[in-house]
Amino acid sequence: MRITATVNGTTHQADDVWPGESLLFVLRERMGLPGSKNACEQGECGSCTVYLDGVPVCACLVAAGQADGRQIVTVEGLAAGGALHPVQQAFIDAGAVQCGFCTPGLLVAAHDLLARDPSPSEADVREALAGNLCRCTGYEKILDAVRLAAARLAAGPGGDGA
């Protein structure tokens, strides 16, 4: 089948998609967007989190056909132009990236959290990111990164908020 979707603002089309393929597979293997990761492919780890019509979902649990005609934003679409989104920059600066395999999904989840709640409590951050597994960091520096991103976003452009 043919899948057409808007991914990161650009229309993408994939032909000869086998109906059993997931949105994750189509993004990674047919649309040239391997940023969303394939760590468990059963919705437990959150590494493949993308926005589907503005709502974070595990792309591994979305059948490719369900994504037809819809709006998708992946980790590749978070940076505007050449500039990293403050959440991305905060992950680098806080040391929240080690192997980085969980990072794309966590970035989308944290991006979504801060869009909904600009100053979440620690318990709120933990709850919002509870669906994203990380094996390297023990999560402390991920919490640091979300706090840093929230502060920088609150300070606005030019403010470092740190």
């Binding site: 994939a14 040239g32 990761k37 394939n38 990293l84 991305q88 402390e140 520096k141």
Partner: protein
């Protein structure tokens, strides 16, 4: 509009390895740690040398999704490979029929053991594991056949059509029973992989106070998030290039060459991005399989394991059964320890001999014990193969000896921290192998530091902070708080006489008129941040800010394994030595030009400096004569094999220590545990990148927590019952508490910059501290980990 066809991203104008659509070819992109982006360069006035928390060079690629992991590789016309695995833990193969599989549309190859051209056996220490099982399978999940097809689902379908006729045999699943004289021998030499003996002091000691206990440690999975993956590309002349996520390129290359029957120059390995490792990538997984399929089909072949297959595709942490007996005098001085340990190595040896070595030689813990008798057995069974995982034998022993320390302290009426401190190793202490600790060993200080840290407040009203969390299982009733302590230690680097070295090539040259350093090693970056450390060392040693890390491959000599907490020490040492050699040649040019004697020549901030003379000139001035390149092989001081009868000898080059204090809330009615705090003090010798050091300690602590309360591969009759992240639980952000980290820096005079390995010690003491805290809260013995709800709330 971007249109992508069935094989998107085809960029016919580009040769070689291609990434999917919209991406640059993978050949340069596979250099995730190549030229740093502007944001990653040190800023003006920032030296970004050792001791600074400079950012990782691959950070930008990792947050934009551009970093190319093994599973992201893509090449025009590539095939997908899959593995058919045995469903039985022990069976004889009568026949394998591949006809129907081969006839499946889209299938390019179906291979069996008959297609292995070289030696059909590999292994890190013993070549005892078939590339593809020939006549016997020894564990459930053992590879039997391979398929390459144009779509992964086609390959899986074809694999399901391979007919294997098995004669099922009874599995040997108990490591103690496997050593019985009448047990079926699973390998030609029998079922004993290694018996390590430690005999020190009085063989029949007596003591005022004696405690004994039997402990069981479950099988833990590394659970790295990036699955096993790689891409094999035939070179058209009988050789192959393999891009793979791994821990030690050269030991892979040696084993692949033997299996393929090819010389090293025909098998080139390049490190693909690695999504975590923790020991689980030290053995081969899909390496030979992908190469076989690529050579057979003449096409590039990609293999990516699913999470389920990953549980069968790598070795795990050894489950261990330990019987301990400790004796102490009535004043609280340790007199003796005896221990018998059985480590279930599973079907193949992997690194079992070395794991047994560690469990045994460090089985008394970081304490001074004059009389030691330890027997550690590594055993073959038909369970999943076990090998390296972070902590490597020391983790399992620590659960036992730290439980014993608490028991002894209670029997003596002493405070558990005071008792530990009274018996703690220090510099100059003699360990159970007779080795004298010749660098700082601040065991007591680490314990006292975590003891002095502030305690968390109790009684939060937020459900999310209680055991059971938003499951709403309690509002505080039945909750008991407990505090526990533990300390542990681990050898750094490879031991027992292993020739443990690394190789570094460093080049200093002018690029666009500016001095640039290029550093090339084969040391695997698995997430820990070695690429950052390599840059920092070059900046410090050569005074040049721009340092390019060349992609890791086998075109430079071996760096040894990214394991045993050794790369900052050993590859760091090699990079430092190579920089020193480059610097000497540069300074020779300075002296040749010198019109006067210059004392104290050195490099910093892009300048050549001398004592009392101000800048002699810019570094770049002395590179007009051409680049300077040096390749250095560097070794730490040698270790020795231990005596096979007494276990005595200088076995380990360095020890690293960490202590934890855990605070837990336990729902005693439901058996649920919430770890409230998990604080750590660790001596790292010298923190080359303080932020990365803290990240290692926090991440390592979380893995120890996981083994303490949730992580276990459930094996029944040789079969894994929970090969998924639905059923094998690793800690989430709700399970890991805030972690306060106290980093001590007591330099090791024998190590470059005084560094001490960092990665493993926190995984050793965190789990025992958590279990000690649960014991303190519940009064239960808790002799096995992970602790399950029924151990807390069930019948005592």
């Amino acid at each position: 509009m971007t249109t992508s066809g069935r094989e998107p991203g085809r960029e016919p104008g580009q040769s070689g390895l291609l990434a999917p659509a919209g991406r640059a070819p993978s050949r340069p992109r596979r250099a995730p740690d190549g030229v740093p982006a502007e944001a990653d360069r040190p800023g003006a006035g920032e030296t970004a040398g050792i001791g600074t928390s400079v950012r990782r060079p691959d950070g930008r690629l990792k947050v934009t999704g551009e970093f190319a992991y093994g599973s992201d590789l893509w090449m025009d016309g590539m095939l997908w490979g899959v593995t058919l695995r045995s469903p039985h833990p022990h069976a004889r193969i009568r026949s394998v029929q591949i006809g129907e599989a081969l006839a499946t549309t889209g299938v390019h190859a179906v291979l069996t053991s008959a297609d292995v051209p070289g030696q059909n056996a590999y292994g890190l220490e013993h070549a005892d594991q078939p590339v593809l099982a020939a006549d016997l399978v020894r564990y459930a999940g053992e590879p039997v056949a391979l398929v390459a097809a144009d779509h992964p689902e086609t390959a899986r379908l074809a694999a399901s059509r391979i007919m294997v006729d098995y004669e099922v045999l009874p599995p040997v699943t108990d490591p103690v029973a496997a050593l019985a004289p009448d047990a079926p021998a699973l390998h030609p030499g029998g079922n004993l992989v290694r018996h390590l003996k430690i005999r020190k002091g009085d063989p029949e000691p007596t003591a005022d106070v004696v405690v004994a206990g039997s402990y069981q440690i479950g099988m833990q999975d590394q659970a790295f998030l990036g699955p096993e993956a790689g891409l094999a590309v035939p070179d058209g002349a009988g050789g192959v290039e393999l891009f793979v996520s791994t821990q030690w390129l050269h030991v892979d290359q040696r084993q692949i060459c033997a299996a393929l029957g090819l010389p090293a120059e025909r098998v080139r390995l390049v490190l693909a991005g690695v999504g975590g490792a923790f020991g689980g990538r030290e053995d081969l997984s899909m390496h030979v399989h992908a190469c076989l399929l690529a050579l057979h089909t003449g096409k590039p072949v990609k293999m990516v394991y699913s999470r389920e297959e990953s549980f069968f595709g790598h070795v795990h942490r050894h489950p261990v059964w330990i019987d301990y007996e400790h004796g102490a005098s009535s004043d609280g001085t340790l007199v003796y320890v005896t221990a018998t340990m059985h480590l279930d190595g599973g079907a193949y040896a992997s690194s079992t001999p070395a794991v047994v070595g560690n469990a045994g030689t460090m089985g008394a813990g970081p304490y001074v014990v004059p009389n030691v008798r330890i027997d550690a057995y590594g055993v073959y069974t038909n369970n999943p193969p076990c090998g390296a995982m972070r902590g490597f034998g020391s983790v399992q022993a620590a659960f036992g000896y730290e439980a014993q320390m608490d028991k002894l302290a209670a029997a003596l009426g002493m405070d558990p921290v005071e008792f530990r401190c009274k018996n703690a190793m220090r510099m100059g202490s003699e360990g159970p192998t007779g080795q004298v600790l010749d660098s700082p060993a601040p065991v007591a200080e680490l314990l006292r530091r975590v003891q002095r840290m502030p305690l968390p407040e109790s009684g939060s009203a937020d459900l999310r902070s209680l055991p059971g969390g938003v499951g709403n299982t309690t509002h505080g009733e039945g909750i008991v708080r407990g505090i526990g302590y533990a300390v542990g230690y681990k050898n750094v680097g490879f031991s027992e006489g292993f020739d443990d070295y690394s190789t570094a090539r460093v080049r200093l040259e002018l690029t666009g008129g500016e001095p640039v350093v290029t550093v090339h090693t084969a040391a695997a970056e698995v997430g820990q941040g070695l690429v950052t450390i390599e840059q920092q060392i070059c900046r410090t040693e050569l005074g040049v800010g721009t340092v390019v890390v060349v992609p890791k491959d086998t075109s430079v000599g071996s760096a040894g394994s990214t394991s045993a907490s050794r790369q900052t020490y050993v590859t760091g040492g090699a990079v430092k030595a190579a920089c020193e050699a480059v610097r000497e040649r540069l300074l020779a040019r300075v002296r040749e030009r010198g019109e006067r004697e210059l004392a104290g020549l050195r490099l910093a901030d892009g300048l050549v400096l001398a004592d009392g003379a101000g800048p002699v000139g810019a570094i770049g001035e002395f590179l007009d004569a051409g680049p300077i390149e040096e390749t250095v092989q560097w070794r730490h001081r040698p270790t020795q094999p231990i005596d096979p009868e007494t276990g005595q000898g200088f076995a380990h080059v360095q020890y690293a220590f960490a202590a934890h204090r855990a605070v837990v809330d336990v729902d005693t009615e439901l058996g649920l545990v919430k770890v409230v705090a998990l604080d750590c003090a660790q001596d790292v010798g010298r923190a080359l990148n303080p932020q990365a050091v803290v990240g290692q300690i926090q991440g390592g602590s979380a893995q120890g927590l996981g083994l303490a309360v949730m992580e276990e591969i459930q094996v029944r009759d040789g079969l894994i019952a929970n090969p998924s992240f639905t059923d094998y639980l690793i800690p989430t952000i709700l399970d890991v508490p805030p972690m306060r980290i106290d980093v001590l820096e007591y330099p090791d005079p024998h190590a470059p910059y005084g560094v001490r390995g960092v990665g493993e010690p926190p995984t050793i003491s965190s789990g025992p501290a958590v279990v000690a805290a649960i014991r303190a809260a519940t009064g239960r013995d808790l002799a096995r980990v992970p602790v399950r709800p029924e151990h807390i709330a069930g019948p005592a």
